[in-house]
C-alpha cells in the first residue's frame, strides 16, 4: 500500500438497526459520534468518553455474525465501515418493548436513565453467552457499565428477570 491510499477522510456506510447510513467522515471520528450526530440516534449516550462507564455500549456484528457488546467511544467509525450495529432504538418491535426493556421498567431499574441504554445493550451482549446467569454472573457481565445513581440492585434484578423471560427464545435479539 502507498501513502496515497492512506486518507484522513473516508466515505463509509454503516448499517444501524437494519438501515444504512452513509457519510464522508474524518478517520478520527469515533463511532459513538457517527451514531449520534450522523445517524441521529441519540439513545446511545456519551458518559465518560474514557472507556470506563459503558453508557455508549452498542452491539456490533463480527465476521462470524456474532453480536458483540462494544464501547462505541473506543472504536473509530471507519472501523465499522460495512458492518451491522444494533442500538437501543433497534430493540422495540411494532411499538412493543423488548422483554429486557420491559424488565427494566417493571423492576424500576432506572432512576435518571442515563446509563440505561448501555446497561441494556451490555446485558444483551453477555446473555448470548450465558442464558441462565446467576446474580454474580450478571454483576460480572455488567461490570463495564456504571450507574451514578448507584441503582445496581434493581438493574441486576431486571437482568435476571429478562434472562428468565428470554430463556426459550432461540435469538434473544429478535
Amino acid at each position: 500500500m502507498t501513502e496515497k491510499e492512506a486518507n484522513d477522510r473516508m466515505s463509509i456506510s454503516i448499517n444501524i438497526n437494519g438501515k444504512d447510513y452513509s457519510a464522508e467522515v474524518e478517520a478520527r471520528l469515533l463511532l459513538v459520534h457517527f451514531i449520534r450526530d450522523i445517524a441521529g440516534l441519540t439513545g446511545t449516550h456519551v458518559g465518560c468518553d474514557t472507556t470506563h462507564c459503558g453508557a455508549c455500549t452498542v452491539l456490533m456484528q463480527d465476521e462470524e455474525q456474532k453480536w458483540r457488546a462494544i464501547k462505541s467511544c473506543t472504536i473509530f467509525a471507519v472501523q465499522a465501515d460495512g458492518k451491522k450495529l444494533k442500538t437501543i432504538e433497534g430493540l422495540a418491535k411494532n411499538g412493543e418493548l423488548h422483554p429486557i426493556q420491559k424488565a427494566f421498567w417493571e423492576n424500576h431499574a432506572l432512576q435518571c436513565g442515563y446509563c440505561t441504554p448501555g446497561m441494556i445493550m451490555s446485558s444483551l451482549g453477555f446473555l448470548q453467552y450465558n442464558r441462565n446467569p446467576t446474580e454474580e454472573e450478571v454483576r460480572h457481565g455488567i461490570s463495564g457499565n456504571l450507574c451514578r445513581c448507584t441503582g445496581y440492585q434493581n438493574i441486576v434484578k431486571a437482568v435476571l428477570a429478562a434472562a428468565k423471560e428470554l430463556k426459550d427464545k432461540p435469538n434473544i435479539l429478535d
Binding site: 500500500m1 501513502e3 491510499e5 492512506a6 486518507n7 484522513d8 473516508m10 474524518e26 478517520a27 478520527r28 469515533l30 468518553d49 474514557t50 472507556t51 470506563h52 459503558g54 455500549t57 465476521e63 458483540r68 457488546a69 462494544i70 464501547k71 473506543t74 472504536i75 473509530f76 471507519v78 472501523q79 451490555s122 451482549g125 453477555f126 453467552y129 460480572h140 457481565g141 455488567i142 461490570s143 463495564g144 457499565n145
Partner: protein, 290 residues
C-alpha cells in the same frame, strides 16, 4: 475527546500492512483491538501519523492446537479466549485470566497479541505468557520467534523492532499433572491489577517437578519469580514451603506507590497473592494438603 488527525489504512493482507509499517517505522501504528491505543490517542499521549487497521486481514483470529502447541492468532480477542473450548480443554489458565481482564466490552475488542505488544507493566497477559513459557512469532523484514522470557524489556518496551508485528502466540501444552492459577487483585471492578500472579506447577509422584511463576503490576515490567521456582522444585508441597516461596515475591517486587497503594502494601499483596496462587495451582494439580 478527539485524537489528532491521522491517515488511515485498512490493508487486506499482512504483507501489505507490514511493508507499510516498515517503510514508516516512526509514524505508523498497528490498530488491532484498540482498547489501549485509542484511549492513548484520545488523551494525545500517542499521535501516530498513520493508523494501519489490521482488522480487515483474514485468518488471524484463530485459536487452535498443532504439534502440542496452542496457537493464538494476532486478532483473537480476549473474549474469544474466554469462551474457547479449545482453551478450556488445553490451557485453562488462559480462560481464567481472560475473564478477569477489564470488562465484557473491552474483552470483545482487545486482543491478546495487542496487549502483549503494548506491554503495559500492569497488564495481565504478559505475566500469563511468562508463566506458560509462551513464544511469539514476529514478522518484519524477516520472520523470527522470541521467547516470552526475552520479550518484555521494560514499561511499554518489548523486543519488537519498529514496524514489526506480533503475528502468533505459541504456548507449549503442559504434559502431566499440571495445576494452574491466575489471581488478580484489583481495587475496583475493571481496574488494572494492583498485583496479578500467574502460576503453572507440575506434580510428579508427590514432589513439584516443574514450576513457573510470574507477576504483573509490581515492577517496571512483568517478571518470572525464578528464586521461588527454584525453591519449590523437587520438594513435596507443604504450608511452610508455600509460605517461604511467596516471601520471594515481596523481596523481588519493585512496585511504585500510586492510587492503588504504597510500596509496602503492594509488596505485601504480592506475597499474599503469590501464596494463594501457588496453593490454588497445587490443589488443581491434585495436592491434598492445605
Amino acid at each position: 475527546m478527539y485524537p489528532r488527525t491521522f491517515r488511515y489504512l485498512a490493508p487486506k493482507t499482512l504483507s501489505e500492512a507490514v511493508d507499510f509499517a516498515l517503510s514508516h517505522p516512526e509514524e505508523a501504528k498497528y490498530l488491532a483491538g484498540g482498547q489501549s491505543l485509542i484511549p492513548m490517542m484520545k488523551l494525545r499521549i500517542a499521535s501516530p501519523s498513520y493508523i494501519i487497521d489490521v482488522n480487515r486481514i483474514k485468518d488471524l483470529s484463530y485459536i487452535k492446537v498443532t504439534d502440542s502447541k496452542l496457537l493464538i492468532g494476532a486478532l483473537a480477542r480476549h473474549s474469544d479466549i474466554e469462551h474457547s473450548l479449545t482453551v478450556e480443554k488445553n490451557m485453562p489458565i488462559l480462560k481464567e485470566a481472560a475473564a478477569q481482564i477489564a470488562d465484557q466490552q473491552v474483552r470483545n475488542l482487545g486482543t491478546m497479541a495487542g496487549s502483549i505488544s503494548h506491554a503495559d507493566p500492569a497488564a495481565d497477559w504478559p505475566a500469563v505468557a511468562l508463566a506458560c513459557k509462551a513464544e511469539f512469532s514476529i514478522v518484519g523484514r524477516n520472520e523470527r520467534t522470541v521467547r516470552a522470557d526475552d520479550f518484555f524489556l521494560g514499561p511499554f518496551q518489548t523486543a519488537l523492532e519498529p514496524g514489526e508485528f506480533l503475528k502468533e502466540i505459541r504456548i507449549p501444552l503442559p504434559d502431566g499433572r499440571y495445576g494452574y492459577s491466575y489471581m488478580k487483585f484489583e481495587r475496583k471492578a475493571g481496574d488494572f491489577a494492583t498485583v496479578g500472579v500467574a502460576v503453572m506447577l507440575r506434580l510428579k509422584e508427590n514432589a513439584i517437578d516443574d514450576a513457573a511463576i510470574a507477576l504483573t503490576a509490581v515492577a517496571p515490567k512483568q517478571f518470572r519469580l525464578y528464586d521461588a521456582e527454584k525453591l519449590l522444585m523437587g520438594k513435596e508441597p507443604s504450608k511452610e514451603l508455600i509460605e517461604e516461596a511467596s516471601k520471594v515475591a515481596a523481596e523481588k517486587s519493585e512496585p511504585s506507590a500510586d492510587l492503588r497503594g504504597s510500596v509496602e502494601y503492594k509488596r505485601e499483596m504480592a506475597r499474599i497473592f503469590t501464596k494463594r496462587a501457588i496453593k490454588a495451582a497445587l490443589v488443581r494439580a491434585g495436592w491434598g494438603g492445605s
